[in-house]
């Protein structure tokens, strides 16, 4: 049997095929066609025996793109009388980058326009009491209005529905009969937690995406079935777990970070295979770079997220994105300052060295001018490079800035790009109280391994791992994910009044439906993680504290909270009263995964791995530098920089002062010497 992972990115669709019997991994890339993602998906499967597939896992940007481009379904909102403008007013923040001092800033349009936001007489209270039940006749009136408005999807967003979802449920029951073709999204089902703006926004986004994703997933499943594929289709979600296709269609908003999540999950797998605890993942592609912190083999997860200007309260891996990648353009502003990005040359015209007419220098061009990417190197898609065009573009910018030559310019462009990456890693580590030196840098993406040592050097990190298949690593990570269902409930209780048995019952109520659904999907090995959101009475925000299964956990919950509070904020108040706000469960259905297996040692020496020697610029020096083919490197042989290690889709730079070693599983380890 085999496992298949397909990651649809903006430029390329990455495929990974894993033969479970032979423990063989194959990767490939095909260009993505916007609007025809499903056709490309099926094209990728053409050479594979579909009847022998055990599972397909799919990472998709269909949802993200729909939101960022405002191309969701025609969506309406039905909400409590008096509150139709919650979605538009939010908390009155601009949420527009660099809008301070910009008299012409324009706040993004609300996710649903005002004329599609309807109100209804109903009211629940904070304690879950229903003050005003919904009236069937009024729902009927609203249904008529919605029909006239021609909506495809509807989010039902009532105040305090997290405490009692009855009014939302009853409304949905009536509407399912009256408007059977309209996609319904209930706020308490999408986010069973308090804070109405975040919950309504998430439910509205879910509705916006619903018809598209439901349709997309349905088309894929239909086509697979026709071709005789019986394997279940799973969709990667933002929290690093997979969701079966049916639930992905119900909760499409959970797939928004589907793409980069795969790489982080792959990172956890690498950490396990190597016995590492703390990693920082660093995924540098063509237009942007994603970084994420992994502590104790668990990626940091957050429920306070934003997409565009819309709050998103689903649990998401905390991935920090900067708009700088290999294709980022270096330019001079009218005040004479040098910038790298956020504008990108994209795939067309692409960097100047592609020869498609791009005249502005990019980070890739800088690496070409420094010979860190060699003239004979084939980039993804088999492009031929034109180093002279890279140099010309750099020389032209150098002239405008008064920099002596193209090579100095190239060094500067790389230095600035590195600075941006370093800043984004500082934000997720130092600024949250973690020392990056305790972490291994896991570098992947087309451009990651080329800059990893430079970034690690700036952060005094001494250890880097470049996993196998760095150019397709996010797709590889798709085959490392378990099926995950999360559930949460808001329950306000003072810690001193809380009873463990009562809380255990709530946990059970949260867990049972998730486990049931997973078992229904044929997954029998279930693992449950439990958490409580705890805060000091009077504060308005919570810390999420893991809750063990062992009896008596409630007695230690307070101590655990104080310790975590102290670790994060540098102080705590052990005497102050605490309260529990939410309980959360993360229920995993454990699946068979891609396993890292030993690579074959070719038996040859280092010389056999040598592809060429060329002159490469490192800092101020030009050094004679060997270039090796990764797959021919002898296992466990330490090589000293300078060196460059080439492979399909990526190049690893080993500067002077660093050593590199290919381990028995095929991962590359870079270490700073001294």
């Amino acid at each position: 049997m085999s496992l298949v992972g397909i990651d649809t990115g903006g430029t390329f669709t990455d495929l990974v095929f894993y033969d479970e019997n032979e423990k063989r991994i194959e990767v490939s890339k095909i260009p993505t066609l916007r609007g025809k993602e499903d056709a490309v998906f099926l094209e990728g499967l053409e050479s594979i025996d579909l009847s022998a597939i055990r599972r397909i896992t799919h990472g998709t940007t269909v949802g993200t793109n729909a939101i960022l481009e405002g191309a969701g379904a025609r969506t309406a909102v039905l909400t409590t009388r008096g509150f139709r403008d919650v979605l538009e007013i939010g908390r009155t923040q601009r949420l527009v980058p660099q809008s301070l001092f910009d008299p012409k800033f324009v706040r993004p349009k609300p996710v649903v326009p005002r004329e599609l936001r309807l109100e209804i007489e109903e009211r629940a209270l904070a304690d879950g009491g229903i003050e005003v039940p919904v009236d069937e006749a009024e729902v009927g009136q609203r249904a008529g209005e919605l029909r006239e408005l021609g909506v495809e999807a509807l989010a039902i967003c009532y105040l305090h529905a997290y405490a009692n979802g009855e009014n939302e449920r009853r409304t949905a029951e009536y509407l399912e009969k009256l408007l059977p073709c309209v996609y319904l999204s209930l706020s308490h089902e999408v986010v069973p937690e308090y804070r109405e703006f975040e919950r309504f926004s998430t439910a509205a986004l879910n509705a916006c995406l619903g018809p598209r994703i439901k349709n997309y997933v349905g088309r894929l499943e239909g086509a697979l079935g026709e071709k005789g594929c019986r394997a279940p289709l799973f969709i990667m979600t933002s929290n690093g777990g997979m969701l079966d296709a049916e639930r992905a269609a119900r909760f499409p908003v959970r797939t928004i970070l589907s793409g980069p999540a795969g790489g982080v999950v792959g990172g956890v797998s690498v950490a396990e295979s190597l016995g590492l605890d703390h990693l920082i993942t660093y995924d540098m592609g063509g237009t942007s770079t994603d970084v994420c912190l992994i502590r104790d083999r668990r990626p940091v997860v957050s429920t306070e997220n934003v997409i565009g200007a819309y709050p998103l309260k689903t649990s998401q891996l905390q991935i920090n994105t900067v708009g700088a990648g290999g294709g980022s353009i270096a330019w001079r502003d009218e005040d004479g300052a040098l910038h790298v990005g956020p504008r990108s040359a994209g795939a067309r015209p692409g960097p100047a060295c592609y020869g498609f007419g791009g005249g502005e220098p990019t980070v890739t061009d800088a690496n070409v001018a420094l010979s860190r990417i060699g003239p004979r190197t084939r980039l993804a898609g088999g492009l031929e490079l034109h180093p002279e065009k890279a140099e010309r573009a750099l020389a032209s910018l150098a002239g405008k800035l008064g920099i002596p030559d193209a090579v100095s310019m190239a060094r500067g462009v790389v230095d600035l790009a590195v600075m941006r990456m370093v800043s984004s890693i500082r934000e997720i580590s130092i600024e949250r109280g973690f020392d990056p030196r305790e972490h291994t840098l896991l570098a992947y993406g087309g451009a990651g391994p080329l800059h990893a040592a430079l970034i690690a050097g700036e952060l005094s990190m001494t250890s880097i791992v470049v996993p196998r298949f760095p150019g397709n690593f996010s797709a590889v990570g798709l085959l490392m994910a378990d099926a995950v269902q999360e559930n949460a409930g808001t329950c306000f209780v003072a810690l001193e009044d809380a009873q463990e048995s009562a809380l255990e019952r709530i946990f059970e109520n949260l867990t049972t439906p998730c486990a049931g659904q997973l078992r229904g999907a044929g997954l029998n090995e279930i693992e449950t993680l439990r958490y409580a959101d705890v805060r000091y009475v009077g504060q308005a925000f919570e810390l999420t504290i893991p809750v063990p299964e062992t009896k008596g956990w409630l007695k230690t919950l307070g101590g655990e909270f104080h310790a975590r509070y102290e670790a994060r904020y540098g102080h705590c108040h052990p005497g102050d009263p605490l309260e529990i706000v939410n309980l959360r469960v993360r229920v995993s259905g454990v699946v068979d995964k891609l396993g890292w297996v030993k690579v074959e040692n070719t038996g040859g020496g280092l010389d056999d791995a040598l592809v060429e020697r060329r002159s490469v610029v490192f800092e101020e020096e030009v050094l004679d530098c060997p270039v090796y083919g990764r797959d021919s490197l002898p296992v466990d042989l330490e090589i000293s920089g300078p060196a460059i290690i080439e492979e399909y889709g990526s190049n690893t730079l080993v500067p002077p002062g660093w050593t590199a070693r290919r381990d028995p599983l095929g991962h590359l380890h870079l270490s700073a010497s001294g």
Binding site: I89, Q93, R94, F105, E115, R195
Partner: protein, 673 residues
């Protein structure tokens, strides 16, 4: 990466050092959020971090609160003046005195110099809002304060840490004069620790580049920002422009307060002179000398160079003058508790005075206040005290390309959440939110409409509670520009039974109004000023506004002369109505006339009785006269039968504000208050 300093900084090193400065500020901010004790800092983010150089010039800031940042150089200057020559490594200074560069007493600054040898190099300043600094009322800010002693404890520049040793006696003295001292102590140490973090990072940077390179880079960055601002000023025509802006009143009398700003542009420099602004007020609406320059800079920066770097270089081409003893540079014992309201008023004055130089950038006026609202009391069931605090945003002004934004923090403010979650409030406080909606028809009419204000209704479930408000533009609304109409003013009322009560006799300023169970406190925030002639607004846009409910059918008819019935446009009636409305606009002839002594700060204009009646105007009513540069002069109507028909009498300085001459035609319209 260590590079030798050769006197010339290459552009790459320059950018790397620039990015490093910003990274230090960002890490300082993260550090404050992680270590502060009070929620207004770690959740409300009401604090700012900045790096300055040895002369106190701003080197780097992030997206902080401009009101916090721009006064920093003045208080660093105060430190240099008082302690110059006696400042040593390991010293840190504390300050909050508005009269010498502070903002209001709640904003406490820590200045922590960093030395290289004998020289103070680049170092951090942190300013944070302390929840309470003593004074008359919990929270210290009250719109009814009449002297600074009511505002809390005033801290002149003092050495709080000497060569690494904290002056414990001084710290104890300060904390003994504040409510919840333990929280304040925690915030103090968070600020100190944040400064230490900055020192560490700056020293790491110096180990890599050496201070010679860093200081040279700093000079280049400041010079670059200066050159950018100068280039933009130089591109403007030489000339001058004056505007006067009126605040509602000082919370004691109902007389408006005048702020006058004159902007003179010559070559690549700008002078902003506030001569002619009222003397300090009896109430809380005063500021120290640093606030008006900060607010003025915000507008100049926004109008001339919004995307340029924010450091001290951008200030250098500006010469901003405030008169000691005026409300913009108040003297002891004036209260400065309402300093934010004054700061917002200076922003409005500068929008008016800068319009001439930035006609393609000018926007309709803003909400003009923070809208501080406090409801405090005890929960009837638990007996626990509660305090509800919000500062709801209003609409922003329309501008050349677009309508204003609805209920949004404006471009001169930090991007804080100004209202809380309904569900959070109802979980924790004996209050029930009845409504949160956009306020229809509140946006100033125009080709581009002002953004809408919001409407928020809060029902009191406690047996009783006290309501305090510090706000402005409750009487005199945000102005429109280039023919745009004013937005609706801010409004705060209490609905009790079937009645609507005003919480004080001074609109927008109330202290301790008793609320009862079942009362509904209604906050309505102002709409932004409109941009351009409302009759020129596309009919389709008006219709879309009617469909969305941003404008009512009545509003469409009154403000835009667009006739709709049941959401359907009546094209013919609209054409006729618009034609008639335009025809009704008749210019008046401008006549010079001395105002005489009015006994208050109101600007007055005059008409004979017949002209007044013909235009349905009333004596004492507020009107606006449209100036050459599109911003309206506000004036109060008086009768003078000595004037000819269809003439309006105005004093010479008023005519100068309009940039008009005697016998010119001028358009005048009433402002409903």
């Amino acid at each position: 990466m260590s590079r030798e300093f050769s006197g010339e900084i290459d552009p790459i090193t320059l950018e790397v050092i620039n990015e490093s400065f910003v990274a230090v500020v960002r890490e300082m901010r993260a550090n404050m959020v992680r270590t502060a004790y009070s929620s207004i800092i770690y959740e409300g983010h009401d604090f700012s971090c900045v790096l300055v150089d040895g002369e106190g010039e701003l080197v780097a800031m992030a997206e902080d609160n401009p009101v916090h940042i721009f006064p920093v150089p003045m208080e660093v200057g105060e430190m240099l003046e008082r302690f110059g020559g006696d400042i040593h490594p390991g010293d840190a200074f504390i300050h909050n005195d508005p009269y010498t560069g502070g903002t209001h007493l709640n904003d406490v600054a820590i200045i922590s110099p960093l030395f290289h040898g004998e020289r103070m190099v680049v170092y951090p300043v942190v300013r944070a809002h302390w929840g309470d600094v003593g004074g008359t009322t919990p929270g210290s800010i009250s719109g009814k304060n009449t002297e600074i002693l009511h505002d809390g404890i005033r801290i002149p520049i003092l050495r709080i840490v000497e060569k690494g040793e904290i002056n414990q006696g001084l710290l104890d003295l300060l904390l003994h004069n504040m409510r919840v001292p333990e929280e304040r102590r925690g915030d103090f140490f968070a600020m100190l620790a944040t400064c230490h973090t900055a020192h560490k990072r700056l020293e790491e940077l110096a180990a890599k580049y050496d201070w010679g390179v860093i200081l040279a880079a700093k000079d280049r960055l400041l010079a670059r920002a200066e050159a950018s601002m100068r280039r933009r000023i130089l591109a403007l025509p030489d000339g001058e422009s004056t505007y006067e802006h009126f605040m509602d009143h000082d919370g004691h009398s109902l007389d408006p307060i005048r702020i006058r700003a004159r902007v003179v542009k010559s070559g690549d420099e700008l002078i902003v002179d506030f001569h002619g602004t009222d003397p300090q007020t009896k109430g809380a609406y005063n500021v120290g000398p640093a606030m008006a320059p900060s607010a003025a800079f915000s507008v100049i920066k926004a109008f001339l160079d919004p995307k340029g770097a924010i450091n001290h270089g951008a200030f250098r081409p500006l010469d901003i003058r405030v008169e000691p003893g005026s409300l913009l540079s108040a003297r002891y014992p004036a209260s400065c508790a309402g300093s934010m309201e004054v700061s917002h008023a200076v922003v409005s004055a500068l929008i008016g005075a800068t319009a001439r130089f930035a006609s393609d950038v000018v926007t309709g006026d803003l909400k003009g206040t923070s809208n501080h609202v406090y409801i405090g009391g005890r929960d009837a069931q638990s007996g626990e005290p509660f305090l509800f605090y919000e500062f709801p945003a209003g609409g922003t002004g329309g501008f050349a390309e677009s309508d204003g934004n609805n209920a949004t923090r404006n471009f001169t403010e930090g991007d804080f959440a100004s209202i809380q979650s309904v569900e959070v409030i109802e979980q924790g406080q004996p209050l029930k939110i009845r409504e949160l909606s956009l306020r229809a028809d509140s946006g100033g009419a125009g080709v581009h409409r002002g953004g809408l204000g919001l409407h928020r209704a809060v029902e009191v479930l406690a047996e009783n509670a006290l309501l305090s408000i510090s706000s402005d533009k409750n009487v005199i609304p945000p102005f429109g520009v280039l023919g745009g109409r004013p937005g609706k003013p801010n409004r705060f009322v209490v609905a009790r039974g079937g009645e609507t009560l005003a919480p004080s006799g001074t609109p927008g300023k109330a202290a301790g109004f008793p609320l009862e169970r079942g009362d509904v406190f209604v906050m309505e925030t102002s709409g932004g000023g409109g941009f351009g002639d409302p009759y020129q607004r596309e009919v389709e846009s008006v219709l879309a506004d009617v469909h969305a409910g941003y404008v009512t059918e009545d509003g469409a008819r009154e403000d835009y002369a667009v006739i709709t019935r049941g959401g359907v446009l009546d094209e013919e009636a609209t054409r006729a109505h618009r034609q008639a409305a335009r025809a009704k606009r008749r210019a008046l002839t401008l006549v010079l006339k001395d105002e005489g002594a009015g006994g208050d700060s109101r600007r007055r204009c005059f008409m004979n009785r017949k002209t007044l009646a013909g235009r349905h105007l009333e004596r004492g009513g507020l009107v606006e006269l449209r100036g050459k540069w599109g911003v309206p002069l506000r004036a109060w109507m008086e009768e003078d039968d000595a004037l000819p028909d269809n003439a309006v009498g105005l004093a010479a300085d008023g005519v100068a504000i309009l940039d008009a001459e005697e016998n010119d035609g001028v358009y005048l319209s009433p402002v409903s208050v």
